[in-house]
Symmetry: C2
Subunit: 256 residues, 2 copies
DNA sequence: GCATACTTTTCCACTATCCGGAAAGGCAAT
DNA sequence: ATTGCCTTTCCGGATAGTGGAAAAGTATGC
């Protein structure tokens, strides 16, 4: 049976139909954009007829699209509408949004607000730097522990969730993460040499609410400028800008 | 019965459970962030027990969150992950993304890629202008026909969909839209005096694939600069930049 | 060109399971 | 303490979702 289905198999008190529908959405979310019925039936462990019925229902709801050419199935556009509604009413996003442009001014690079959802770190809002690289990975996402923002947020999660995050990465990073967790959880900011071309480093600070829980990460990408001040100095300045914005956002949030 | 439920009531060949689950998601998407069970049961026309069961299932799947304080229900974070996966694999977004920074350079204002989903126009990718207003309505969304991008895309839709769009706006814009549809559908670009503070006008061009169907709109917000060239001139220049990017994106798309 | 293999879709009887009414638990007020 | 409101659980019965198998539709081979 597919790994994903196990995670959902034993969920007492959950409607089977809903469970199966969500399972299909998850299967569609991984792998290629459009997938065939047979394959989905195989991976889900459900019968062909059931999968077909479920997908037809989801298509009717626009949560799933069927490619008219190949009649294969993929995720649907309605998901973006629901997601937008979710984000539009997320207090933390509204709280930081006004400060993002200021931070860009100070940092000079791209600034992003990242959320930890499931085991992935995803960018929810961004302000691109002035001389940003044309290759902007807007909807890219990676396992949380591979990104600086994810480490910051992941280390602050309860152990149960932390284990899930570890399971998503390779042996090397797992060891690193286990060794560094304490440090990551306590640090007021975290930096990392960036994989992104044209960017020297990325640095993140947590966005905390009135109760002290970290809701999101504010991440800046420092551009690499030849012959400019050493990275260490610019990094320090960036941290100052980020923290200031984070604290301001935290204040407007208050005790949620 | 609530207006939304009617739209879903008669959907032959759709599983009732899925239909109801989606109905609840839609109800949660409109109105306040967190809503109470009783209210949802009322609006959906379903029994309390049923709504409770459905919501519990959706919570287990992270598509819905329950506020531990008030035990009210709202949309869940998993929606953003699914939405991200959808967007990450949407060809048109990948095709324009590299050109957005160029367009910003030329236009000097914020540039956005907008999609028509349901009856709403939503921004899927954006590059903020250099002196962008701190008030950036990132996850704002409005009925399609109120925005210039929505008019461009809506007018190109089949009549059936066009009617739905009309139903979402007030009488005045409805008349305007009916009169202008032909024009909007044929125009290679469309502009409009902007409601957004600090912005003089917005202008949009369609992003078309190899078959000539408009998949999205590329929208630029021209900043208002005092004593600068008349808006008309800057608008013309912006249209040039936008069209060039749109054509380049269309080429990399090819015949999908 | 036909034949083969594969994939999607439909049909149908069965019973698993989803539904609604009603009762039981919580939580804030008055 | 009592009342009212909202959430959660319980339960029998009938609905409606399930899976096997057959049919329709499409691509691939020779």
């Amino acid at each position: 049976m597919a790994p994903l289905s196990e995670a959902l198999t034993d969920a007492p008190g959950s409607l089977g139909t809903v469970r199966n529908a969500v399972l299909l959405l998850r299967l569609l979310a991984e792998g290629p954009a459009y997938q065939q019925l047979t394959d989905l039936a195989d991976r889900s462990g459900l019968s062909l007829a059931t999968v077909h019925r479920l997908l037809r229902s989801l298509v009717l709801a626009d949560l799933v699209e069927q490619d008219p050419r190949s009649s294969r199935y993929g995720l649907g556009a309605e998901l973006t509408r629901l997601s937008h509604r979710y984000l539009a009413r997320l207090p933390i996003l509204g709280a930081v949004a006004p400060y993002l442009t200021q931070v860009r001014e100070g940092v000079g690079g791209t600034v992003q607000v990242e959320l930890l959802v499931g085991t992935a770190i995803v960018g929810m809002d961004r302000v691109d730097g002035f001389n940003a690289d044309p290759y902007r990975n807007s909807h890219h996402w990676r396992p949380a522990l591979l990104e600086v923002g994810g480490r910051l947020l992941g280390a602050r999660c309860p152990d149960e969730r932390w284990k899930l995050l570890l399971a998503e990465v390779d042996e090397a990073t797992r060891e690193l993460a286990d060794a560094e967790r304490e440090h990551w959880a306590g640090a007021p900011w975290l930096s990392m040499i960036s994989d992104i071309p044209g960017t020297a480093a990325e640095v993140a600070v947590p966005l905390v609410d009135g109760h002290g829980t970290a809701l999101a990460a504010l991440v800046a990408h420092l551009p690499s400028r030849e012959g400019a001040d050493p990275v260490a100095e610019r990094l320090e300045a960036s941290v100052a800008h980020l923290t200031r914005a984070a604290m301001a956002a935290g204040r407007t949030l208050g005790h949620g």
